[in-house]
Amino acid sequence: MQDTDLSIPATQSTPHIRADAAAGVLSLSGDSYPENAFELFGPVIDWVEGYLAAGEAPLRLDLRLLYLNTSSIRAVMDIFDLLEEAHARRRAVSVDWFYDHRNERVRELAEEFAEDCTFPFRILPDEESPG
């Protein structure tokens, strides 16, 4: 089990990112339009790769993302590709994508993301979301 966790506080243009290896949860919440998406998501992708390589425990993504710019979309798809590979190796991986129930557009976009994913991908209205 990988014992390094990630905790990147949110900024105006980047989401709050938390990776908890003990719980097997990676959560991202907020807007994402960083100037340098590679710098922001590089460590996240490294963490996912490391976590998946280090053990057999399940991984769940908890996403509460509002706005994503193009390079953030690409980074999220890269993470999903890692999950897809792990899923092919029979690893338990899943995504819970919460959206503000007043913003159906985000639900539609999450569905686009989910299209090619064969692992469990739930898209859920988040009634309590203040956004």
């Binding site: 706005y67 710019n69 690409r74 798809m77 557009r105 976009l109 686009e112 993301f113 299209e115 090619d116």
Partner: protein, 262 residues
């Protein structure tokens, strides 16, 4: 290998194996030739097999490249689609934000900020064109009593209905908005005072027709209106102040009427 070839192979093998041929003068030479032949065949097989494997390798590599290329292409198409979706979402939010910053949430009419901006623009235009410009300030009569008697929710519905009645009654070139509370402002471009008063009178009629659920049918919602014509020498706010004074006068004179501020 053809049948004739394998027949020849068998004949030569039989000859070399035959003890009766052991002392034949050509036997050693034939045996040496036979062994060289076998080695050559083996070599040819190996070359063919190696060549086949190389060809398969190149073909696989091309396939992998094509697959990778197609996968990337699909990924780019997907990213583009999703990105377009986010941009569309932002555009819609922008429109909503624009609407929210210029319109009143309760009545859907232009808000005070928008009205004040338009008043400035219309005054500027009138100054250039020399056309007249009027303002009409209306205030729902005894609105506090409506709120106190039948509740704020009924009061809100009444405001919405009055707003719609006013907006329906003014001409398409006029601009009717919520100035604040139970106050409404109508901008009447290219209109003289007398014509503006006539339109304000029609607004009074329209408001009297308003019926609101929760308010008894015999209760008449009414509005008082003060009208003023802007003169090119003054600031637009001065015309508003005269309309406000006229409105005050209309209230003092018994409400449900139009007064013109001179």
């Amino acid at each position: 290998m053809s049948t004739a070839d394998s027949e020849l192979d068998r004949r030569i093998e039989a000859l070399l194996a035959d003890p009766a041929m052991g002392d034949h003068p050509l036997r050693d030479a034939l045996e040496a030739l036979w062994e060289r032949y076998l080695a050559q065949v083996h070599r040819l097989d190996r070359i063919a097999s190696l060549s086949d494997r190389f060809q398969a390798l190149v073909r696989d590599r091309d396939l992998t490249r094509t697959e990778q290329f197609e996968k990337r292409l699909r990924q780019i198409e997907k990213i583009t689609r999703i990105s377009d979706g986010y941009q569309e979402m932002m555009r819609e939010l922008n429109v909503q934000l624009q609407q929210a910053s210029t319109h009143d949430l309760l009545t859907g009419l232009p808000n005070r900020r928008f009205l004040a901006e338009r008043l400035k623009q219309e005054a500027e235009r009138s100054r250039r064109s020399g056309e007249p410009l009027c303002v009409a300030l209306g205030d729902v009569d005894r609105f506090k009593r409506i709120n106190d008697t039948w509740g704020h929710e009924v009061g809100d519905v009444a405001l919405r209905e009055v707003a719609q009645a006013m907006d329906r009654t003014v001409r398409s070139a006029d601009l009717c908005g919520r100035w604040g509370g139970e106050e409404f402002l109508v901008l009447l471009p290219a209109t003289r005072l007398a014509a503006a008063v006539a339109i304000a009178d029609r607004v009074l009629d329209a408001v009297r027709e308003v019926r609101v659920e929760g308010i008894p049918g015999d209760y008449r919602i009414t509005i008082s209106i003060g009208v003023a014509e802007w003169s090119a020498e003054e600031r637009p706010e001065a015309a508003l102040a005269r309309a406000d004074a006229a409105l005050f006068e209309a209230k003092g004179n018994g409400r449900d009427r139009v007064m013109a501020g001179i």
